[in-house]
């Protein structure tokens, strides 16, 4: 099992604030994905990053894959209540499955 630690575990912020969520591991991954999960639902894929140092933007969300491909971050600009949910990173290598991180539960207060 590949251990992926996410921080913070819980985050509660006001609407309009910025935030960053971190995903760290001692293992190298060939790809890393971020998912968002809402209560009672399955995770929904947000992005996949595969190259060290890669940055991808999805509207107000910015994802970065660390140069060494051991870590990743998710930055949200001007958070909105609709961003509330559990954010999960998942690391994988070819021929192996994606293993999920410990999750960050985000609450955006209107």
């Amino acid at each position: 099992t590949q251990l992926l630690e996410q921080s913070p575990q819980f985050l509660s912020i006001q609407e309009g604030e910025n935030l960053t969520v971190y995903c760290n591991s001692s293992s190298v991954f060939s790809s890393l994905q971020w998912y968002r999960q809402e209560p009672g639902e399955g995770p929904v894929l947000l992005v996949t990053v595969v190259t060290g140092g890669e940055v991808k933007k999805l509207k107000r969300l910015t994802f970065q894959f660390g140069d060494a491909r051991k870590d990743s971050s998710l930055h949200i600009t001007a958070a909105q209540p609709g961003d509330t949910g559990l954010y999960l990173c998942a690391g994988g290598r070819p021929g192996n499955q994606f293993y999920f991180g410990t999750g960050t539960s985000l609450t955006v207060i209107p």
Binding site: S30, E41, G42, P43, T48
Partner: protein, 116 residues
Amino acid sequence: EPEVTQTPSHQVTQMGQEVILRCVPISNHLYFYWYRQILGQKVEFLVSFYNNEISEKSEIFDDQFSVERPDGSNFTLKIRSTKLEDSAMYFCASSEGPGGSNYGYTFGSGTRLTVV
């Protein structure tokens, strides 16, 4: 948008009983997975399935678990003799390409299994 469909959405069963959780993956996907999430805990990998056989399984996936693709559309997870600690949300997922690569997984909405 194509979906992964799971049934039932909720299942309550007595300890020691067998349960079968059903999934219909996206039709052109070739790789299938089962994950579980115990309440308040992380999403845990159980098993992956490709070309009608298990390609990888975790230590959780012991002899009490089995998977099957009985026809061209369904993908099932069977737990032979349920234990209290099997209570969890079970998610089926599928992908177009192999796991661990740049292919994303599409997850179903899950089956909440409660063992009493």
